[in-house]
Amino acid sequence: MEIDPFIFRLSIFILSIFVGYYVVWSVTPSLHTPLMSVTNAISSVIIVGAIIAALSGSDGVVFSSSSVYGFLAIILAAVNIFGGFLVTQRMLAMYKKKKKDK
């Protein structure tokens, strides 16, 4: 009997939780705020679903009942992607080491 592809996805999911667990514990506490903003940005990869939804309209019809939700989700996710990564960048740029030449 063939293994349901769902099981593979579930395996990826479970293993990723463990990866996340160990990776996040190694994040230094002083970077917890950037951690939140960057996780925010990457969770907006949900835009993938939004794009598929937005392009789901049948020929010639751009805005169908289902694609409208896709377009709305694209705006929301895009705000998050750009906002999340840029604000993280801005924060991380501020973390400096002590200047030795003083």
Binding site: P34, M36, V48, V62, Y69, F85
Partner: protein, 464 residues
Amino acid sequence: MSANLSAILYLVSGVLFILALRGLSSPETSRQGNLFGIIGMVIAVTVTFLSVGNFSSGFIYVLIFLAIGGSIGAFIAYRIPMTAMPELVAGFHSLVGLAAVFVAISAFINPAAFNLGVPGDIKLASLIEMAIGAAVGAITFSGSVIAFLKLQGIMSGAPITFKGQHLLNALLLISIVILTIYLCSTQSSNLFWILIAVSFLIGFLIIIPIGGADMPVVISMLNSYSGWAAAGIGFTLENTALIITGALVGSSGAILSYIMCKGMNRSFFNVILGGFGATDQTSGSQNKEQRPVKSGNADDAAFLMKNASSVIIVPGYGMAVAQAQHALREMVDTLKKNDIKVSYAIHPVAGRMPGHMNVLLAEANVPYDEVFELEEINNDFANADVAFVIGANDVTNPVAKTDPQSPIYGMPVLDVEKCKSVLFVKRSLSPGYAGIDNDLFYKENTLMLFADAKKMTEDITKNL
């Protein structure tokens, strides 16, 4: 693009996201990590365009909407003051949640576009995943909106509690499970809408009883939820990048909530069930006898610090409110010119979100190797001459170590009282959010500086 190739590229983008988080293990590698994250996102979006392969007029609209959202996001990212970071993160969480809801709705209306079957006959597993994604997304959305309103001060930060609250929440949660089961057997779109509505309501009800200072836990928790919502949608779309990311973000938020709860010595459920400030007010008002405090002015404080050889600064939420971080750094610069050793001590729950104080100090150009966590620096208080507490309160309260009756007993606190002298900048003697008196105020070696944190710091600098 073939399905296999796109699946591999989604995997690549998932791995890049892991590296993005990995980079945050130290400030030096963090910028590179962020770059990995951006590349991962670009790959994921590009692959999606190529695999859908529909470059008709709809594609143009996608780009337009992407540009609209992107410019709003970029504008916010550049304009937002660092002190408003908790609000920003809460706001962003709500967007992820709502986006998850929208994608789930779209997949429910038009499952064929996602290869999930036809309306009225959606694959069972997909329907369950969709329902979970939509429900968690909706909870994330409404919960984050409330958190945002509380952090912004639009809504009172005080916990809002009423009779039967927990029972109501429990009933609503059960009803979500029942609705999902019925949804799966009937495929009724009405049930799907009700499910989303009930989830919105739950998110709202879960967050309103939680007080302002518990926000670090709430924000971390919502961070976690947004991840699980993304993972739910990832299963629906059979998309590896989304599944990996969802799991990463979900566990990240869960760990942060755990760290925050530990920082307050409270269990997660204790925080979620809410009403810390509300339940413990009695103990605060009992011993209201007037105890003498010593108060001083900027001149006294400057004198003490000038004669010190080492100073430890304890910042808290009050520093963020007063925007005093730049003034503080100027004061420290002056101290350093006088060869006084200065370090910063940060309690895990100082501020309104994990790492809040660190970001503010970094913004004020404080080098990160002068900033220490509680465990790293707590032993140094005994050898320090002056502790300068600016905007922190409960996290310095020695009662947490001495009085088992106290609501904050057992919470790890900074051993500020062990310093030779303590300077405590505060606007008044009012208790902190926990509603309890801080014993530190009445210690022999404590000098209270009643003023706005920023103004006081500036005045001290002038007097140094």
